[in-house]
């Protein structure tokens, strides 16, 4: 296939990516992290900061820096488009869609998307407890931290699907295999199933290896109008399509009082629309970069998007299907579990690198289409990236 992808954003390319290294305690400010990643992404796109005319970003509980500061620090030109979202892990794929929308609607030519945070040494979002609002109804139950919310979901998933701790472990081990080969990853020691199972629960049925590793860092992506993008002699990455889905939400994302079935996630709502919009099927996807803030949510995502049957994700992984030479390599950076929790923006970047053939030791051969999803419970977004040769 040549030229930009068909579909709603046929005139849009993902032109550049940039990331800081991931650290437990970065020795610089969140703004400095953001600027480092953004400068790298702009350079990777073959652009100058003055070419950037749009910025899209998200933060949660004020943990990032606003677009005004980033625009100032980068010395961009006049901005024609900005959008700041108050969102979490549902956001990264949606940010790319949003940048594409701004371009497709003629509002901007080169939109910078970024996520920056000190998720480890600073504001740990999983432990955020604002008084008032939704947390008032769960804080006193001892439901003070995100792993506990997810533990409840995954316990129901295991119950409903007759899945087991070994299935969760299969995902953790499979992703670790990629992380061992990924110099950016923070958890790079291969695990055995016995070692995994020997760890105690922190909150059942989750062990520490089932939880993403919070980090300090930043990641940035440049989305460009295809006709304005710089030709860099590498495969161009188009955006075949994407959807957002949220349903049955209530006062905050931690309660999930109204979501009926904790054994499935937003993917069951997003998938039919994604496949209809793109005209694709799960078998058309070559690589899947799946949101995995916690192991079990990645299993639900794999099942929800139809890559395997309900309750079959553990067997699917054990069959070798998600390995680098399998029929659907999954989370080729090691996932948020092992590379680090840059809130899923790093997962989008891994998908882009796979589509353009720049994924290093974990590069999958002959990648045409990559599915990237963000989010794993009541809300999320998903995009399909397409390598355009």
């Amino acid at each position: 296939m040549t030229g930009a992808a068909a579909g709603p954003w046929g005139d849009v390319l993902i032109s550049g990516v940039g990331m800081t290294s991931f650290a437990h305690n970065a020795d610089r400010s969140v703004l400095s992290l953001a600027l480092q990643a953004c400068r790298a992404a702009v350079a990777d796109a073959g652009l100058e900061a003055c070419d950037i005319d749009g910025i899209v970003n998200y933060s949660l509980y004020g943990d990032s820096v606003p677009s005004v500061a980033v625009a100032g620090g980068l010395a961009t030109g006049e901005l024609n488009y900005v959008m700041e979202f108050n969102l979490g892990g549902q956001a990264p794929a949606f940010m790319v869609m949003h940048a594409a929308m701004a371009i497709s609607n003629g509002l901007a030519d080169h939109v910078l998307v970024y996520r920056a945070l000190k998720g480890r040494s600073g504001n740990r979002i999983g432990r955020h407890l604002d008084a008032g609002g939704g947390t008032d109804f769960r804080r006193f139950a001892g439901l003070t931290s995100y792993p506990q919310v997810i533990g409840s979901w995954i316990a129901r998933y295991l119950h409903e699907t007759a899945s087991t701790d070994e299935d969760l472990g299969a995902l953790v081990l499979a992703q670790r295999e990629y992380a061992v080969r990924n110099p950016r990853a923070l958890r790079r020691t291969q695990l055995t199933l016995d070692q995994y199972l020997a760890e105690p629960y922190i909150t059942s049925p989750l062990r520490r290896h089932d939880c993403a590793l919070e980090v300090d860092g930043a990641a940035a992506i440049v989305v460009s109008r295809a006709s304005s993008a710089v030709e860099l002699g590498r495969p161009r990455v188009g955006l075949r399509g994407g959807v957002w889905s949220s349903r049955h939400t209530d006062l905050d994302y931690g309660g999930s009082y109204l979501w009926p079935d904790y054994s499935e996630c937003f993917a069951v709502n997003a998938a039919p629309r994604l496949w209809k919009q793109t005209g694709l099927r799960p078998s058309d996807i070559d690589v899947a970069e799946i949101y995995d803030c916690f192991s079990g949510l990645a299993l639900m995502n794999l099942e929800g998007f139809g890559f395997c049957g309900r309750g079959e994700a553990g067997d699917f992984i054990r069959s070798g299907a998600t390995r680098i030479d399998g029929r659907l390599p999954v989370n080729t950076h090691g996932g948020l579990l092992a590379e680090g929790y840059l809130h899923g923006m790093n997962t989008v970047i891994e998908g882009i690198l796979q589509a353009r053939g720049d994924a290093g030791a974990n590069q999958v051969s002959d990648v045409e289409r990559v599915l990237v999803c963000s989010g794993g419970r009541v809300a999320g977004s998903v995009i399909v990236l397409e390598a355009n040769g």
């Binding site: 432990r127 407890l129 604002d130 008084a131 008032g132 609002g133 939704g134 008032d136 109804f137 769960r138 804080r139 006193f140 139950a141 001892g142 439901l143 003070t144 931290s145 792993p147 506990q148 533990g151 409840s152 979901w153 316990a155 129901r156 119950h159 105690p200 629960y201 922190i202 909150t203 059942s204 049925p205 989750l206 049955h248 209530d250 006062l251 309660g255 009082y257 109204l258 904790y262």
Partner: protein, 144 residues
């Protein structure tokens, strides 16, 4: 020896609730020893937590009702790690997600959790209110 769940929770280390126009009936209900939820006068469906309008049909005819406290464990997590210092002397403790017989789903701690017995999805529980440290908070206990 008391077997109240909240006896070993340092409630003063948790941010206090901030009742507002929507949630005040919930806190007032607990002070009376009951858990309240809302039901829609239009579509008859029920829900929790308190919201100004029905999240099922959008109607503004929400009416507060008192729950019997009886329900079924939908799911649970047993927390071993001290995520918050308020619970440092409470671990391990079980948080159960309960589907009340009246419909709404709530998250409450399980009083009398015994690691040797564990927690069973589908088990019946009864919710009641503990009065500890100047607060009134819901807990679940296993129904015999």
């Amino acid at each position: 020896m008391s077997d109240l769940f909240f006896d070993r929770v340092h409630l003063d280390q948790l941010p206090p609730p901030v009742p507002d126009e929507d949630s005040q009936p919930y806190w007032s209900g607990l002070a009376r020893g009951v858990l309240v939820f809302q039901r829609c006068g239009q579509c008859s469906r029920s829900w929790f937590p308190p919201m100004p309008r029905c999240p099922h049909c959008g109607s503004d005819s929400a009416v507060f009702e008192e729950s019997s406290g009886l329900g079924t464990i939908y799911t649970f997590t047993v927390t071993e790690y001290v995520f918050h210092p308020a619970f440092a002397d409470r671990v391990p403790y079980a948080i159960v997600t309960v589907d009340l017989d009246e419909g709404p789903r709530v998250h409450v701690p399980l009083r009398g959790y015994d690691p040797a017995v564990g927690v069973t999805i589908g088990a019946r529980v009864r919710l009641d209110v503990e009065h500890v440290g100047g607060m009134d908070l819901p807990v679940a206990t296993a129904e015999p």
